[in-house]
Symmetry: D2
């Protein structure tokens, strides 16, 4: 299997590489790993470390890198997209400008999430178009770039073989396995919703749902994982995704964000340190600092998913796919995140119970936003941006949507051709 990683110069990449090196075994299915990135300096540093990690674990695959996207995509069986358009500077903007209007500043939801979608979707679509021409026939595109739900929907709308991947679900599974002292693979989650708007509703081990017991015994731990009051977990009988904090605790998050540096500012600092570490030619493993960068278990999620696609093993993975009737009350075209069976022909959502009213309403509301966000990203134009913001439950106000549109477009004019 030949794997191309678009945005391969990311400081994240050693996480992914470590996953392949450790998990893909000495008889690795990854025969070639190609890192693609326009930032050549950074790419060389990250690429060098990637090679050393493969070498350290004795992985037989080759590692190469290029700033020529077309060349890098050629013959790939899987294209992983993890690029970040505009880098941390754009992230800081996404995390700051909504605060001007009293809204949460976040790069995957709300006005900041829309800004990221608008910057990202056109770039990803272009890459997918190129991949269609040069990659191996039937190649898969795995979208790990946020907002994953919107990016995946845009790719599916274009007719690509695409899956959206997120590390929230695997993180929950790992945590549950630790708490229950069972191997991760023994824990089957009922994890459902939209990307970054999911709830874990059951955790089945040996045919029995252990979630009620986990909520009882480890409420405080799990509340810390979800970064919200334990009461939410008890009231809903679920473990909400960490990202639901931006909904369930919106004003508290705004209050915090008003008085503290942005995540982007923090990450930019961590990235500088990471790149210094990576440049050390004796380093041949991922450094501990990388854990602070976010993205825990991303590598395991990705390696597992690729394995299922490659080996056709019907593995269970939480991925982003078309709703297609899985959740009632949502359009078939909506992209949901749900536990699926994955094989060589792709992912099939496992049947799942309908959402409770308090979850179904929020999901439908955000799905309406996402439909308009995809339209705005694909077709451009100020009015679609305004409508998408008006449609978002964390914006929803007209003058607010207007002003956020102004600020979003002003801050992103370098990335949005149509907004100049």
């Amino acid at each position: 299997m030949k794997v191309a990683v678009v945005g391969g110069g990311s400081t994240y990449t050693p996480e992914l590489v470590d996953g392949f090196a450790r998990l893909d075994g000495p008889t690795g299915t990854v025969e070639r790993l190609t890192l693609i990135d326009p930032a050549t300096d950074r790419l060389a540093v990250v690429g060098g470390l990637a090679r050393r990690i493969f070498a350290r674990y004795g992985h037989p695959g080759t590692v190469d890198w290029t700033d020529d996207t077309d060349a890098g995509l050629t013959d790939a069986d899987v294209v992983i997209i993890q690029l970040r358009v505009g880098g941390q500077a754009a992230r800081i903007s996404d995390e700051t400008f909504p605060l001007t209007c009293g809204c949460v500043g976040q790069e995957t939801t709300g006005a900041g999430g829309l800004a990221k979608a608008l910057r990202t979707v056109p770039v990803v679509r272009d890459i997918a178009r190129r991949a269609r021409e040069r990659a191996a026939p039937g190649a898969w595109i795995v979208a790990f770039t946020n907002p994953v739900g919107i990016v995946t929907r845009a790719l599916l709308d274009d007719g690509h073989r695409a899956l959206g991947l997120c590390n929230v679900s695997i993180g929950v599974q790992r945590r549950f396995a630790t708490l229950l002292s069972v191997p991760p693979a023994a824990v089957a989650l009922d994890h459902v919703g939209l990307n970054h708007l999911t709830w874990t509703r059951a955790a089945t081990v040996d045919g029995r749902d252990r979630l009620p017991e986990l909520l009882d015994s480890y409420g405080a731990d799990l509340a810390e994982l979800a970064a919200m009051p334990v009461g939410v977990l008890r009231l809903t009988g679920t473990l909400p995704s960490y990202y639901l904090r931006y909904f369930y605790c919106h004003d508290a998050v705004v209050a915090e964000q008003r008085d503290a540096p942005t995540r982007g500012e923090q990450v930019a600092e961590i990235e500088r340190e990471l790149l210094d570490l990576y440049a050390d030619p004796t380093l041949d493993r991922k450094p501990e600092l990388l854990a602070q960068r976010g993205g825990a278990f991303y590598s395991e999620a990705a390696v597992g998913l690729l394995a299922s696609l490659h080996r056709d093993d019907s593995g269970r993975h939480a991925v982003n796919v078309r709703n297609a009737g899985t959740l009632p009350g949502l359009p078939d075209e909506a992209v949901i995140e749900v536990s699926c069976r994955v094989g060589a022909t792709g992912a099939t959502a496992l049947p799942t119970a309908p959402l409770q009213p308090e979850q179904a309403g929020l999901v439908a509301h955000v799905a309406g936003y996402e439909e308009l966000a995809v339209a705005a990203a694909v077709r451009g134009g100020r009015d679609l941006v305004r409508r998408a913001l008006l449609a978002h439950p964390l914006v929803g106000q007209y003058d607010r949507a207007e002003r956020l549109t102004d600020l979003l477009l002003a801050n992103n004019s370098a990335h949005l051709v149509w907004a100049r």
Copy 2:
């Protein structure tokens, strides 16, 4: 036709009576109008005026009043419910306590609307149960008590022949007719959504949609009617209901409410003046001051609806009925407000286009809340209150929902048996 009005001692009643007196003609179909209210002093004042109004217009029907609900309901063909549990004091509470948490204070939506639903639904259900035993077979219950959507849903869940009525749609129709210089009946609206969460999407006159032209020529007027920036009308191509202001302009409304007396305080003052006027034995028409009380065209909407039920004339009315497939993406059980054909067997929703994503999402979100609000009102219990608040797009935050639950229950303990 015998009509019973529960909450007949309201200062609103002369509006309704005026409608019957003027519109129901000298050969009036209303043969008996019974006002039911526990507030006997007030009832006598309002009842006296009602009789004088009937006399002045030469309406042949009789007017009587009673504080004995069972007696008043006996043999009624139509039961209009317009009671207000807790009076203006409860309204002032509904309009104030959510502000403590930074949320809009309003008696039909948000936490205040839920408080009103919890107080009202059990009382209305009890009245409907009594009506079933004593009113004429096949009697209709017309719910005009807010929150109309939730009240209607609870009545339908109990198996009653119920319709929910609101005066927003008829007000829009009247305004359009004036602007277009045509008779009201010539204007057919495409008015759709949930009660107090509706959009007028078309206004057909002689087969042609005149709404685009109205928005173009009378944007400022219509924006004033909707109490929101004209940009909302232009962006959505609709005339949103005045109540959407609590969503589209939420923070601006909160800012206003923080610095001004509540509507309830104002209305209490108007009511005192109205009752003074009503007590004047020479007064035989509705006084002008009544217009400031709200409820414009309520009488015409009610008289028209009753006429269609009675005469089986297939009249077009905007009423609250089960969704039953009318709007995709909403459960069949949801109660929507939509243009219907009304005859002796009730109301049938006219086919209507799906909602745009920005409307569909909000409607689904609020419908989720309404489902839980009905459950909370019918079954009681703190957890359902908390879940309903968490489900409401204007609350949606967990700690907020908790605290609003505390305040709601503390403020309404006199009305909620289960909350003591």
Copy 3:
């Protein structure tokens, strides 16, 4: 020394009684302790416990109680005022209604503090007037009822021999002594500002200021004591009073208050439990639960102050007295809280350095408010209330002041004769 305690039925009283019992020694100077309170049931419970505490410690003084204020004041040498007009219900109102307008809900500052001042000052003035007629010649009035600064200023304006007492300073001294492992009396604080708006600027032990070292070594502990970020302590080089949190962390406090029960609701619960405990005829000491009621070291502060007044020992105490030139930039008539020498003729402020600009500005601002608050409490009238609110740095906005005036007067009409 005969001591009368107005508000003696408070659940606080056993704290004070415990202080006299423990500290006033077996040859106690307190020969008679009279508890005065209109709530006779409560008074009997608290009085009974007080007697048992005196007995347990072998204190020779008598304890009696009465609901007849004039009788209770007769011949008193010291009148301690600790009453709470309106009880916890009024407190809950003070802590809630300002939140409606987005302002902190607190019973000693902001709009809630003004409400308490308006309720309290007339009652305290009346008591002081009665004391002047019946108490021993030259009797002292010790005001412990909040807002202490405003209450003291009103008493001094009336020509009474009054001192304002607060337990913040003694609490700081005790904590420092513990941290430095020295006896409390060895620590002399430079504690200055207005009541509940003070900063400890130095802590001298054996002639050396140990505060810098305390801030260095115990920053986190002291920040917890002050309930604010340690950065405030470091930036100002002081330990601010806990109450400065309502200024330095205003919005964070509002955010917390929006989502949590009020302090009054919590205290009301604690008081119910305390009264149950007090009623136990075998209880002869203050129960541990009393510590949660607040008021730590209040008894020691009061006993110490009375001792200095009685024994003319020039003791050092932080009390509330006229500024009279102590702090430049403040009117002489302002009442400040400052370290004083106290003897038989009263308290004399020790010379102290001028405040830093960031403290001086805030103090002058609040002093302007306090001047108007006293005027409003003494003379009554809506306009003085509005002006006082406009003058308060935590209100300061005109429409906000208007609406808060409405709410304050509506909530306190039972206590404000002139506002009906």
Copy 4:
């Protein structure tokens, strides 16, 4: 009299030039007007128009311009400073970044005002130092650059002959004169406070105070001038400066600013249009559009003040001078804005009544901030910035001050050498 205008390339300049041309008469005292600005293109456009305006009115003075500050200052009798460091881009930043933290975004007060002070004071001090070396002996520096109070205080601290000028007072005088149908010079104002924090407390015409009558008869007009509710005028019996709106209506202004473009964005657009107009070689008067730029009556205020300095006529002008005992409760070193007599030796404050408590407290609070703002601008350093923000009544919160410091320094690093 030779006049140098630093920042002479401003689009404001034609306003000033028009004043000299019209008011300085055909026997004009201004013999030379030198415009100084580093923006040479802009300067040539504005300078050309200035010459044409002088020509049109037959003013005998010469007009020249230069980007060489030292050359332009040489021999000047008066140096007017009206520069804007960082241009409209910096203004937009000042108006935006505080909103991120929920604070008003304004370029003369709050965190935005501090940012402008930090950028401006060092540049102005440098110019004043150069002027001391090259300008005529005894030359006056007239500061019109905001924040005028802070800039003037810094200049006086350096020992310069400086006066701060603002157009608020003259605008009030002109409006009153129009309403009373008397010549402007007949109206003597009692105008007092700090720059942009002033109240007009009396308007004497022929020895009689006409302000009460003006407030009675023209309340709505004057409230519009002050941009605040008429109730503020009535409650305080004054006409507050327009800038007090940022205090008296803070949250309403924030709510507006959240939903609308900044003033800087609007002015940048107006400036582009103005420069296009100015470039027209046939234009020889100030265009009407300039009125929208702000600064009404600036020219008349400046020309009048210069005339008094030059002719030693003891004219009455509202200028910014040392307090020096004028207002009790304020340090002597504070710079206040007050009605003065102005002659050849400078300005002497006219005696004025003390401020009411609600005004005195706010003035003292802001004066504390200004003292720290000058220190921060002169000495630099993050801690003084934090202290100044903590001292400002519109900030006052610690974490808020921290985060605003971060944002202020990040946004202004190009201008603050010490912050890099």
